[in-house]
Symmetry: C2
Subunit: 492 residues, 2 copies
Amino acid sequence: MFESAELGHQIDKETYRKEEPELRQALLEAQFDLLEKGNFPLIVVIAGFDGAGKGETVNLLNTWMDPRHITTFATDPPDTGELERPPMWRFWQALPPKGKTGIFIDAWYMKTIFDRAYGQIDHAQHDQAMDRICHFERMLIDEGGLLVKIWLHLSKDRQRQRFKDLEKNPDTRWRVTDRDWDHYKHYDKILVAADDALRHTSSAEAPWIVVEGGDTAYRSLTVGRCLLQSLQRHLAARREHAPPNSLPPLLPAIDNLHLLQTLDLSRSLKKKAYKDRLEKFQGRLSLLSRHPGFQDLSVVAVFEGNDAAGKGGCIRRVTGALDARRYRVIPVAAPTDEEQAQPYLWRFWRQLPRRGRLAVFDRSWYGRVLVERVEELCRPEDWMRAYREINDFEEELVRHRILVVKFWLAISKEEQLRRFQEREQVEFKRFKITDEDWRNREKWDLYEQAVGDMVDRTSSAVAPWTLVEAEDKRFARIKVLQTLCRRIEKAL
Amino acid sequence: MFESAELGHQIDKETYRKEEPELRQALLEAQFDLLEKGNFPLIVVIAGFDGAGKGETVNLLNTWMDPRHITTFATDPPDTGELERPPMWRFWQALPPKGKTGIFIDAWYMKTIFDRAYGQIDHAQHDQAMDRICHFERMLIDEGGLLVKIWLHLSKDRQRQRFKDLEKNPDTRWRVTDRDWDHYKHYDKILVAADDALRHTSSAEAPWIVVEGGDTAYRSLTVGRCLLQSLQRHLAARREHAPPNSLPPLLPAIDNLHLLQTLDLSRSLKKKAYKDRLEKFQGRLSLLSRHPGFQDLSVVAVFEGNDAAGKGGCIRRVTGALDARRYRVIPVAAPTDEEQAQPYLWRFWRQLPRRGRLAVFDRSWYGRVLVERVEELCRPEDWMRAYREINDFEEELVRHRILVVKFWLAISKEEQLRRFQEREQVEFKRFKITDEDWRNREKWDLYEQAVGDMVDRTSSAVAPWTLVEAEDKRFARIKVLQTLCRRIEKAL
């Protein structure tokens, strides 16, 4: 990847002085076009060798463009709050919304490259990490983002020269650290690892651009032009709308037998048995949440289900067993403006709990493959790819020792009608029933199909779905509590 | 992935008898539409558990549709010719051309799934293998193919029942093997591995469709409808043409310094020194090709370069040292009709040498990112993704102990002119110069840029480019021979 970036590119000051103002003006204009008309974020990755001018370049971009619409993310060692979340969490937090620019120095790359160079991970693990990055970046692009990846390169000789020069000058001596020299010692290994990483993650939509970093003028103009051209092309292209792709159908309904129909909805619990078990399992859950091992764990509980299936009641029986400082219930409604300006998973990433905490999602990221699919709030290609993205997301959580427990609460169409009518009649329950509920009800079969596909495609060994027979509320609540206890016990 | 396929789906005979003729007719019509109007191949993967009806389904499809336009590939143990090529080679050989259908039983999946289930590979290696499959399938789709993936499922109980039933009947007893019972014993592990594999490789464009295999009527109708709907949608969609995507620029030319300009084209050899070294290196190459270790190796040598740079002369000096039974020179011209009906890498896959052999490509798969890019013979998104595809291809070769040696022969624009003129004047060389050569020459700068990008993006540690200063033919030939010898020595 680095051949053309070791040639000694440079430009004379005269040329730079002539070209810089024009480029700067054009960049600023493109940035405002993005802000006003662009319905996408600009995500810039600036990675590369120490001493190749990463910091300078980022500072320059912030000077050329309007820094109010740029956020710069430097990959410092993670703080403790970040350490308690999956590694990608802090990058999600820093993603720019539509219209804005985010610059990520070193981004999600350098740690893996160094791990590989220093022999912390083997080849297969490196490839796994790179593929996760590919999926993440693919998702950013599928969600409309413009991703520009720039590698600032220095040959080994030039890196040494650069460090020596900086050390000679008392004003810049502090910029060269022991870590820099250690990296220099491992230059060859880092080079091989970086070459592999860049080749692995270069795609047609987001190719790596390797820029020689030795000459400031050359580097600055090249990076600037790169950004400018990418931005201009993307702005021009976004005005047209791509026609829907041909997408294959999922499993066709041949015999009208669906997963949900196989549930035995007659299962129920007598009042006395319910009270006993409620007490028992709430006690168990309470103890579990105070278990020392729970401090190294987080729990994400997801509640989905038919309208009026009793999610709220189940959730209250769970939280009733817990210390309020330890849990958070996140009711998922329509996304806010801020959330709408981000990839759809963003609003769930931001809610991930710290260690020792429990996050309860009342509805969740599964809206994408349920309501958004059925109500055609997104394109088929969007919900089709969501299965994969959701699996990736949950795998990331599980890898970070976050327990993912997912419940689908199922009731029959008749029971739903009964509950709807009841809600309309009982004063204090009337707020719970809306026209939308009645509309959703008309699409019962479509939802049933969507739930089947969802369970089939996202019930993984690490994050399985639990289908809950919820016709009898007591039975449902106990099954939820019991499942949650068992999953936590297994994880401890 | 299997929840909905363990419900006991079935259809009564009456329904089947009513629906089958209609489906059959529609499938046949769709198949002929594909043949006549469809500019793409239909690639069907039928995988799944033993006893779930893979064979029966494939036979049925061949009955319903016109078997003259279907090829069926059963993944039997590879023959010795196949073992000498990379594992994917035999699948490439079996890919259907545009307009036709290829059915792959078990395809490129079952080996990895069994390896995982039987503990032959670990989790990271499994993910690596699955990602390679993802890239391969992505390439098939990007090249316009319609890929339909069907998993025929049986629950553990039903698998045992199925085997017992078959064993009871003397006519079908032979169909149940020890291997089947061994797989049954490992059912749970295979299930987990398959679940992982399917989830990993399900994409929006080619999702896995899991079909319960127990009831023949249900299974047949479901698979048939699936194929029919996929085919109909794809045929309808292909008629519109997608507008060009917005693609980012590669490295912009800021200072007009290109990789090729850094070559010292004045390097040359005197006649005497040339003769000595020619003899020496040809002797060395000859010995190397007869080295016992060479029998476990294959060599793929790629020659690219400016028109009139002397590729032919270099190749003759290489082959001159070899036994004619051991090498093959593949001059790459415009693709044949048959080749044009396949993904562009297909015509190179088919030429891969057996063990102990050497394949010399006079021009190669790099045409995609050179002439096809510059002459706009393919869309930008096609050559942009080609870097990745080429890297994948060469990695596959290297992983299979095929040595990949790539030469770019460089001459100056002036020297090219001199050689062109000479060719026009010398009678026996006149066939070597065409109008096209003159046209290419006009685009010298674009080619220079394309070569730079090519070397940057495809010169990997395992398959590096060697740039050859070819202004002096003697120097070039020796450098080629010497490089080849060294690479083979290192590999032995």
